[in-house]
Amino acid sequence: MDKFGFTISKGRQIDYDLNDRFIAEYIFEHEPSFRLCIECGGCSSTCSTGQFTLFSLRELHILIKRGENDKARQNIRKCMLCGKCMLVCPRGVNTRNVVLLARQAFQKENEHAV
């Protein structure tokens, strides 16, 4: 930066060939209702954590489905598992279980990596 006055901008392209969709596949397998999500954002609007932090369950769902796991991993611990999102979901997605399964999958990924 000092030398040139700029840095190389990072691409924002979502590359499905490079992204690992293991977390999404794991959730689809154990909680099929995850496929029903239409990303309406009802869960995020009612989320207590979301009122006080930048946590968004809707964003989390999208990131996991795209395989952008690094961003999802940073956010997933913020959920308090209160379950209010389940009550408002118009598609009946078991959102609390989605979060739990995502945490499990990340745990498995870590064990696998070790």
């Binding site: 030398k3 040139f4 006055g5 700029f6 840095t7 190389i8 901008s9 990072k10 691409g11």
Partner: protein
């Protein structure tokens, strides 16, 4: 490269290019970036191919760089272009040959505009008359300088001293072609081979013995993009575009990159140095960069011109490994010496006497 489908596309997109009597207009920036290229074009056309090429001393910028940089309004650009056409008309020529791709794109765009909106042409004629008192004819033929070299590629091959072949292995060199965005992306029918797989440089590479390399980001912009580079804070986007291309072409191990635009060779050449400084990455073989050439430089090399007369010492990426690979003779001592040309020595001597 899978060639059959592309040959079908190429056969659909062919354009008429005149045989002789060209009105040649230079680029604003090429003489700074690659100072030997335009001189090499004139030398090839006049001395090797014996064609009539005229340059007008009153030619100015076409204003395309300002138009695409969003600082020159289109009416101003059209009036400046009308003045260039007036110079051509006064000189008695009708085959207009710009050296710059953005000029070529701007001329094409303006001619199409005038074709569909004759009232705009009338307005511009009035502007030019009021400003300069000049009148102009529409060019009979508009061809980019690379179209002209493409047209005479077989004649150049017949007179060639070298071919694009590795002299050790006998295998054709792997060449990546990169076409300027303004060549045919705006008007595919105006470029040789269309927009998706332009043939203008691929034709030269094939004819001179090389192998054209196809790779996923072949049609990606080099990164110049005018505003991306002209504003310093945006240069990260510019270098990111070039990086995208290098990452994509690297697995194919290209020996060189061939371009036909003023900005593309500049950025594909210089950004390799910047990326290396920032990230320590090189994209060529043996830890070197991939040398980048203009089509005039390559034609000159094939014809046996001295590499230093072609201005190859001005490249960021050293060209010597490639020259050795082809077997081109050159003098390493003369690389940065300006004494090779007697005319240059004379000027130097004169400058010393005056200052």
């Amino acid at each position: 490269m899978k060639i059959d489908g592309k040959r079908a596309i190429w056969s659909e997109y062919q354009k008429d290019i005149e045989e002789d009597h060209y009105f040649y207009v230079r680029s604003c920036i090429r003489q700074n970036f690659f100072p030997g290229s335009e001189v090499a074009f004139l030398r090839i056309m006049r001395d090797v191919l014996k064609k009539d090429v005229y340059e007008h001393p009153c030619h100015t910028t076409c204003s395309g760089i300002g138009y695409h940089g969003d600082v020159v309004p289109v009416d101003t650009a059209m009036t400046v272009v009308a003045r260039q056409f007036a110079l051509m008309t006064e000189a008695g020529y009708k085959n207009y040959v710009p050296s710059c791709i953005t000029s070529f794109g701007l001329y094409t765009e303006i001619l199409e505009t005038w074709h569909h909106f004759p009232e705009v042409e009338e307005r511009v004629r009035k502007h030019l008359r009021n400003a300069t008192g000049r009148e102009f004819n529409i060019p009979g033929n508009l061809a980019h300088a690379s179209d002209i070299i493409y047209k005479f590629r077989k004649e150049i091959a017949a007179k060639a001293k070298y071919t694009l072949v590795n002299k050790e292995t006998g295998e054709p060199l792997k060449v990546v072609d990169h076409i300027g965005c303004h060549y045919s992306k705006m008007f595919p029918s105006k470029g040789v081979g269309g927009a998706e797989y332009p043939y203008v440089l691929a034709g030269m590479i094939e004819e001179w013995g090389g192998e054209v390399i196809d790779y996923p980001e072949r049609r990606h912009c080099c990164g110049f993009g005018f505003r991306q580079y002209l504003v310093q804070a945006n240069r990260g986007y510019s270098v990111a575009c070039s990086r995208e291309k290098f990452e994509s072409m690297k697995p194919f191990k290209p020996d060189m990159i061939l371009t036909n635009c003023p900005g593309c060779p500049m950025f594909l050449d210089r950004w390799q140095y910047v990326i290396n400084e920032m990230e320590g990455t090189t994209y060529g073989q043996n830890g070197e960069g991939i040398p980048v050439f203009t089509y005039e430089e390559l034609a000159g090399l094939v014809l046996g011109f001295d590499p230093w007369d072609l201005g190859l010492q001005m490249h960021q990426i050293n060209v010597e490994p490639l020259l050795d690979k082809i077997g081109i003779e050159y003098s390493p001592e003369k690389k940065f010496s300006l004494n090779t040309d007697p005319a240059v020595s004379k000027v130097k001597h004169f400058a010393k006497a005056v200052y």
